[in-house]
Subunit: 484 residues, 2 copies
């Protein structure tokens, strides 16, 4: 029922070939829980588990797993089963899945669809990847502002009865019995959000606003659609980024968002379940990028070791090459290090603290950019905040460690380290705050300019600050050792 972990895991049952117990496990869990468990199985285990489900259950589980897993599953099935699973999805989900498949398989799947549906999916694939157009349920039922509540409800019911799902063409359902079944099962989830909000248009299909199904149902008899229409008509253009659409839905608490063409005519609706998926994907992407790797498309436990290594390797290579900068800096000051060996003892602490302060600033600003609380134009405000925060933190840390180092070493060393910490913290906060803004300005994902990139850059520059401060405060010791 709820998302509680099962007593014995499905994975263990499959590994021990306890097929009856596995079938029993599957019977007791919800489709959602099964779909979730799939993200923890290997491809072979998934296929084995999938074959234990009865047909209706299999369709329902198939809907709930992510497109990369859907693609994996389809590869393990016979051709006629493949077609059936694929046909059961809504057009926007079909378009997304086709993107995941090899071109040849995608073409075969598309050909298996009835002609009218193939045209709908083809239209969706015509929109750029990650655009709002890709995400929408096309051609929903629309209402005219002058209709009464009763006329509106009747139209909604009539369309639904005709199409099994608002806006889908009847021929598709008539041509192929499987499609009709699939759509009926689908209508249990996707369609609730889809019919929860109905676009209101003029007679050229230009969007005038939206009306909530709940508002229609609860209004007094005879009320006009115009009087129930939502005054603030949020919508997006089909070419708009999916993330913008999803964030608008989140901020405006909408159950479905109209998508329009350049002339403002209604094209389709994005449902809130799709918006949540987009936001989850964006959060995952940001989490990976902030940690310095490219995001995985598949679940962590399903991805191969090679995939994991590849996603991380690209950045590690870039960063280790950038780290040669630190070697340069260290070499420049090799004589100083040789003269006052104690200086090298503090190197890890200083670059570590700089990296941490920079990473804190970067993660704050990356997140603020993601939720649109900060924009690239705010760069001056961000710098001014980070200068003060970094200086404050640096002073606090400097004062904190001064007595410790004074006690362990001596006054000049303690003063050098403390002053360096002030400088490094301030500088790291500025770099951490500014880099994501510059990244966004250049059209890159700001999350890329987060922790590892920031800390690698701050490492080299932090060392410069360190040796400059040491050069000033410990000049006597250094020249005594090198000169003498």
């Amino acid at each position: 029922m709820t998302a509680s972990p099962a007593q014995t895991s499905l994975k263990a049952l499959l590994a021990e070939r306890e097929l009856d117990a596995a079938r029993n496990w599957l019977t007791l869990e919800s489709s959602v829980a099964i779909a979730e468990e799939f993200s923890r199985l290997s491809t072979a285990e998934m296929a084995a588990a999938f074959r234990l489900l009865d047909k209706e259950r299999a369709l329902s589980v198939f809907e709930f797993v992510d497109p990369p897993i859907q693609a994996d599953l389809l590869e393990g099935l016979r051709e006629e089963e493949t077609g059936e699973m694929f046909s059961s999805l809504a057009p926007d989900d079909q378009a997304e899945l086709l993107d995941e498949m090899p071109a040849k398989v995608a073409a075969r799947l598309l050909e298996g669809l009835p002609e009218s549906r193939r045209a709908v999916v083809g239209d969706l694939l015509g929109y750029p990847a990650e655009s709002a157009g890709r995400l929408m349920v096309p051609t929903p039922t629309v209402l005219m502002p002058d209709a009464t509540r009763e006329q509106a409800l009747e139209k909604i019911q009539r369309n639904a009865a005709h199409h099994a799902m608002a806006g889908y063409d009847t021929e598709a359902a008539d041509e192929d019995q499987n499609i009709e079944e699939g759509e009926r099962s689908r209508s249990l989830t996707h369609a609730h959000a889809e019919i929860a909000v109905i676009p209101v248009t003029d007679d050229t299909r230009k969007l005038l606003g939206t009306v909530a199904l709940s508002a229609l149902v609860t209004a007094p008899i005879g009320t006009c659609v115009r009087d129930l229409m939502h005054a603030e008509k949020h919508h997006v253009r089909a070419a708009e980024d999916q993330e913008v659409a999803a964030r608008l839905m989140q901020e405006s608490d909408m159950l479905a968002l109209p998508v329009v063409d350049d002339e403002g005519r209604i094209l389709g609706l994005i449902t809130v379940d799709d918006a949540m998926e987009v936001l989850e994907f964006e959060a995952t992407e940001d989490a990976y990028r902030s940690g310095g790797s490219e995001p995985l498309k598949e679940p962590y436990l399903t991805a191969t070791v090679m995939t994991l290594a590849r996603k991380r390797g690209v950045w590690l290579v870039i960063l280790i090459l950038a780290a040669f900068l630190t070697i340069n800096v260290m070499e420049i000051f090799e004589a100083t290090l040789e003269a006052v060996v104690v200086l090298s003892v503090f190197v890890p602490m200083i670059i570590g603290t700089g990296g941490n302060a920079g990473s804190q600033a970067a993660s704050s600003v990356v997140r603020a950019l993601a939720v649109d609380e900060v924009r690239p134009g705010d760069i001056v405000r961000v710098i001014w905040r980070e200068v003060r925060v970094g200086f404050l933190l640096g002073c606090f840390l400097g004062l904190l460690i001064f007595p410790v180092i004074f006690f362990l070493y001596e006054g000049t060393v303690a003063a050098t380290i403390s002053l360096t910490i002030v400088g490094v913290c301030t500088w790291a906060c500025i770099v951490g705050g500014v880099l994501p803004l510059i990244g966004r300005k250049l059209g890159a994902d700001p999350a890329v300019f987060s922790t590892p990139v920031v800390s690698t850059l701050v490492d080299a520059t932090g060392l410069l600050i360190y040796f400059s401060v040491a050069g000033l405060l410990m000049a006597d010791q250094i020249s005594a050792a090198t000169g003498g």
Copy 2:
């Protein structure tokens, strides 16, 4: 309309005291866009802008801003205005806002509510913070399985007409005209999701399932509720964590989730807009913690510099104290460093690479834990994956830098650094993968054991690996210099 940035910012207009232009700006933007813009203003600017809105608009904007900003706004308003704004919120939002206010103000606001509503909000406050109970809209309309479609729709309409919003008590609305208005404005957003899914119960209010409003509306006349009821009845208990509830809603594409008591009786509904807010907050919390600071409650640009410094300072202090470990390690090997100064040159690169590899592993596992793709019980699988990924990456990086260092220095140095990189990468991936799992097991937020904590721990242990490898491969050089 869409979330496009305004030409001249509201902030600039307010700063230049262009009040007419600011009023004009406010008229042209949607309530959602205004609420979003508020997250970029100071408290004083917010209050100034708020006073330029007409009453209905002000109520609508007030609903869309986050609770900490609501609290700020209320502090700047006169007492009678305060009461009105507060009354306009749904009970779950009222409970959330009361948590943000000083106890004295909270008590006054609560007293200003009609008695019946006060009881409802009081009940919500009785649930633990961050529990599903806190988030729900209490006592929704319920249906019996034997009702027909027409009886059901009539009951929904009757309840809504009575209460302005399903489930709220009539006396409240009668006692106070303001409340009734507020609830009507509120019903434009929250309530759509609330009425989109209706719980089906037996005559003791035990939850049997749910039925979608769209399913009711589109069903043929005379259909029984039982036949439209959703077979998989997802729900949560009131004491369950909000994040669990929100994630269940996301995974099962639900518009509203029933909340039940320990006997399975219906208590209320959580709506999808609240679930999205919870997930956004969790993603923000993870982003901050992964960057090594405590999450901000207010937007980045609204928080004071002191708040930013405090949220980051706690972790920086812990981490700099932990970094004294690196000083210990460096001191132990001070003789070695003195003997072969070139070793110190590579210290920043080695600990940097270890930190990066650890941060990549940690961010993958933290995210996988957050979306429930990995659980603490998977620890052996995670270690085995990370050992292989880390070793693979280490070998690749080691081979990559070997010729460069061989060319710049000599063979023994190159071999030492390359072998160290293999060891450090493998070790960093294990630590990064395991720490979040241990954190979760201990009941802490796994995101805390992410980048900065991992890299600080890996710094000290990475140095141990470095000096051990150097001790083996460069034994002759070291003993020659120290012994001679």
